[in-house]
């Protein structure tokens, strides 16, 4: 109970800091919507991608995943802010095991990433050119979308913690995030269907955890011949198992005394 209270206290603290940081709040939501407007209309009108019936709607799940990606990894970087301000030492000097502190911080990243991704989903749902299919009915598709977003954020926040345990500086953290996660995003089916890719990129797409999140959202929101690349059971199983494993590893890591 004491530990739960500590986790909630850390969660509230990070959420409050997030709400106070207006630039983070707005930019993380405006950027994907801007991409959606530019890429969605531009590519759709100018390049006429084959095998995609409605590109802007196809793109929306990818933008939701991108929002989660940016937001939860950015929130994971608050670990460095706490370290540099000395707050991490204070929190670790409390009568709780390290994993309680890491759990509180990681859950904050999950909550922030999930909220922002859901916000993009909500805004996208009312933009006229975007026509969600709601393949499982509105309620069923929404439940599946929310599930996909939450699980994806658990995975990404856990990954952020794991990387933070290996990388000493925030600059290095962002560099690695860009180097690793941008390719992951590009080859996840967020911008173009995996079916259209050459074999070696299909292999990359298959071992890419983000692909399963994008696929799940495509199934829920887009649903045509270019979605459902892996199938719902595979999406749910792979993403849930990966998220559980990475989240556990991220929150169980040891914070080095001189980290």
């Amino acid at each position: 109970m004491r530990e739960l209270d500590a986790v909630v206290a850390l969660l509230v603290r990070d959420l409050r800091a997030f709400l106070r940081s207006r630039s983070q709040l707005y930019s993380s939501v405006v950027f994907p919507l801007m991409l959606l407007a530019i890429l969605g209309t531009g590519v759709s009108d100018g390049l006429d991608p084959k095998n995609i019936r409605d590109y802007i709607t196809f793109l929306t799940p990818g933008m939701i995943v991108m929002t989660a990606l940016f937001s939860s990894t950015f929130s994971s970087a608050s670990y460095y802010q706490d370290r540099d301000s000395g707050m991490l030492n204070v929190l670790l000097a409390s009568p709780h095991p390290q994993r309680v502190v890491l759990l509180g911080k990681t859950l904050s990243a999950v909550a922030i990433g999930t909220t922002q991704a859901l916000f993009v989903l909500a805004v996208a749902a009312v933009i006229p050119p975007i026509n969600f299919e709601w393949q499982y009915g509105v309620a069923g598709s929404l439940v599946l979308s929310v599930f996909a977003i939450i699980v994806l954020n658990f995975f990404l926040s856990g990954l952020g913690q794991l990387l933070a345990s290996r990388i000493r500086s925030m600059q290095g953290f962002h560099l690695v995030m860009n180097l690793v996660l941008f390719p992951f995003l590009f080859f996840s089916g967020a911008f173009f269907p995996l079916t259209d890719l050459p074999f070696w990129l299909k292999v990359l797409g298959r071992i890419n955890p983000l692909s399963y999140g994008v696929d799940m959202l495509h199934l829920a929101l887009y649903a045509d011949g270019s979605s459902g690349y892996f199938g719902l059971p595979a999406d749910v199983a792979v993403l849930t198992l990966l998220a559980a494993a990475v989240f556990y590893a991220g929150t169980s890591r040891t914070v080095r005394p001189d980290a």
């Binding site: 500590a6 603290r13 301000s85 030492n89 204070v90 929190l91 670790l92 409390s94 009568p95 005394p257």
Partner: protein, 328 residues
Amino acid sequence: MNLSSTVPALLPATPRDAFAVDVRGLTYRYHDRVALDGLTLGVPAGSIFGLLGPNGSGKSTLLGVLIGRRTADSGEVRVLGEPLSDRLRDRVAIVFQEPSLDPMMTVRETMALQARMFALPRREGERETALLLDRVGLSDRADSAASTLSGGMKRRLELARALLTRPRLILLDEPTLALDPESRQRLWQHLAEANDGGCTLLVATNDVHEAERYCQTVALLADGRLVAQGAPADLKRDLRHDAVRIEWKRDAPAGEFPIERWDGVGRVRRAGRFAHATVDDASAFLARLFREHGEGVHGVQIEESTLEDVYFQLVGRGIAPHADGAYP
């Protein structure tokens, strides 16, 4: 003085529960560097205890071990009579050497987070927060962000945060570093009040004057080892040196008045027209000084020796960064 026998004799003779901190044979290594080298010391419960030594002598490492952030390679540690554990930190607080506040959080939020992390009931936390902020003079800044506070205010907030959970032991790492004299005095006043309430204070410092003035017992550390432990007055009583302050008529380079080379002269620190020398016998030294260099001397003063002098005699080097160079 026979300091090597002072400390080991102290520990077995004293019941272990009389110590707030009881450390025996503690060793901690940073890779190939030994930070704590078989350290043994006992901090009497209810005391203000100073850990005195230069940077790198092992003070902060010891505090890190006591708060559970570092795991010793060997040795035994008991805090408040118990082996180290997460729950033990319910009764232990720490004020770190570096600032440790979230700049975006307000003073009140900082205290509230501490209260929740230590599972203080909400109303008790709020009541104690109000009392402590009043005590440290921050009531009117309760809703200010920590980033807007002065250095002294930040330190007082950190102290208030440490006191919020009513700890039995507070570890303080260079608590007055970079504070102005007034802020230092205020901080020590608050610390003394906490000690009056029965709280043990373990203060790591390289400020000899503060250690002498405020600590009942001082442990001198060098290279992760205990060099001596005792009350400041006792440690100085055993010192064989007198201390003499010389004011020359003008800037005096060492070559012109080479008193360092004289028999019976220990350490000499110089700064411009001033020199501070530890000597075996002040009378004999002054007689020779006036005989050989009387024309250059503007004035002399026999000073009280300091723990810095004790440390130098035992270790062969000074504590503070300036200790081996200029005399302030």
